[in-house]
Amino acid sequence: MKSTEKRIIAGVYHLSKDFGKQFALQDINIQIANGEFVFLVGPSGAGKSTLLRMIYMDDFPTAGQVVVGPFVSTRMKRSTIPHMRRRVGIVFQDFRLLEDRTVFENVALAMKVMGTGMGEIKRQVTDILTRVGLYHKRYDYPTALSGGEQQRIAIARAVANSPSLLLADEPTGNLDPVVTRSILELLFRINAAGTAVLMATHDFDLVRSFGQRIIYLEEGCIVKDKEMIYVGDLRDRIDDSSVSREADRLSGHDIEEDR
């Protein structure tokens, strides 16, 4: 019985973060509803990764608060962080798989740390690996897989515990355009099954065509948080930064061609 009613599953409220004198994030407000797909876009150094780290509570804000499900950053003990992490899947640019374990063991790890029974783990991991199309590689070690395959395994691990929110920090940063598309499709599929996704990327061209909500972050501030209405404005902003040109080059798009 799935509820279609929108409810907030995670949010940051008046969040600021500084590292000494330098502001990394300033008065950030974001709310993510269940089943939503949100892109967090901005040039390198805009604070995307810092913001994500705040949300999975690897670091804590200087001011304001982060709320994930029942967990409130200002009102929780450090010892409860592991329990909060079990409700949030996290994916990175560098995959972060354990190279001394097989694909199966990597995905199973996320369930083992919760104390899930072995029978349940086998069933669930088999199911997930089938969904990401890598069940036949379950006994391989990550080093034997391509980058795209490793990221699929990382995503499989992130959703093993059926989290309500999946955080992805530049998940396609190390991948070529074709593989990038397939990873995005996988994320969309996961989203369609009910998991909210917050994906950070510097690659605006990659995400603009999908019509999802985009939060644009620049120098630690939210510049825009809308559906795709302000494309023009955002394009201008992106063109200003050298980083975005690099992003365009990497994603195989030519800026002139688009105009």
Partner: protein, 312 residues
């Protein structure tokens, strides 16, 4: 149905006010053991290398302790040779003499009192002189007094205590003199004290070095697993879940390193004993204690080094 199952899964997490009931499931304990076994299996090379490094530094420590033990054994034996002689005045009656014997026996720290007659003393003296004993024949009469020879307990082997005791006995009626080789004893005592001070100083340096080497080895072990620790944290492993395999690994490394150290030492000891047959080795309980100590040291080292990475 699906959402209910997920809720069940998370129910144990929060029980009001975000408070967490950190009850560990039996399966979790099983997985932790699996993790420990897995870690040792997959990291045989690195683990055995650390064991060798730790074992060799521990060898230096135990070798030092064994040398100290043997030297202090020799010093203890030298102490046992100590005899205090109370010389009796000439012509003392046998009753008075026996009184003195009882009084001496009643003194604190006196273990044995033996009467040495003047004749016996002269014979001993002659034996000590060996082939030169003819000189004694030149004597017209025995110049030696009767004496009581006392053997003392180890608590008395201190020059100030001995001096006080000698002074006290000297005051007694019928006592001519009390002797125990005072100057020799004091010189020996100074030497022994100097030895123990130096030994303690070097021992502390050795101990610190060994602890330093071991804690660094442990830290490197953990540093090399940092990635795995980070991943474990990301997927929501509790600190306990992450730590226990490392603590077990640390304990096992400590046990194997201490076995290596003791084994090598036993080998060296066997070789050395051919030349110095009087050498003694650690008793079984010492060895057992040492192994336990190393196990605790290893696991504690792991535990403390982990704290930093886990931000506890």
């Amino acid at each position: 149905m699906i959402s209910r199952r997920i809720d069940d899964k998370h129910r144990r997490v929060s029980c009001g006010g975000g408070r967490v009931c950190d009850d560990m499931k039996p399966s979790e304990v099983g997985y932790i053991i699996d993790e420990s076994v897995l870690m040792l299996k997959r990291r045989k090379g690195a683990t055995s290398l650390s064991v060798v490094i730790m074992g060799l530094s521990l060898l230096i420590l135990v070798m030092f302790v064994l040398v100290t033990l043997n030297i202090s054994g020799i010093i203890g034996k030298a102490g046992e040779e100590l005899r205090v002689y109370a010389y009796l005045e000439d012509g003392l009656g046998s009753d008075a003499s026996r009184d003195i014997q009882y009084r001496l026996l009643g003194m604190k720290g006196v273990e044995e009192v033996v009467f040495i007659s003047r004749e016996e003393a002269l014979d001993n003296f002659g034996e000590a002189l060996g082939s030169d004993s003819d000189v004694l024949e030149a004597l017209e009469e025995n110049p030696l007094p009767d004496a009581y020879r006392m053997k003392l307990g180890p608590e008395m082997y201190r020059s100030d205590i001995l001096a006080r005791m000698a002074e006290e006995i000297k005051q007694w009626e019928g006592i001519e003199d009390v002797r125990y080789g005072r100057r020799w004893f004091e010189r020996g005592e100074k030497l022994v004290r100097g030895f123990y001070m130096t030994d303690l100083g070097i021992g502390l340096i050795v101990l610190f070095s060994v602890v330093f080497v071991i804690s660094n080895t442990v830290r490197l072990t953990i540093l090399s697993r940092r990635r795995a620790i980070d991943v474990m944290k990301l997927v929501g492993a509790t600190n306990t879940y992450i730590q226990i395999p490392f603590v077990i690994e640390g304990a096992l490394q400590g046990v194997f390193a201490s076995l290596l150290a003791v084994g090598l030492l036993a080998l060296i000891f066997t070789l050395a004993k051919r030349y110095l047959p009087g050498l003694v080795f650690f008793g079984t309980e010492w060895v057992a204690g040492f192994i336990v100590f190393c196990a605790v040291l290893g696991s504690l080292g792991s535990f403390l080094a982990m704290r930093r990475f886990l931000k506890m």
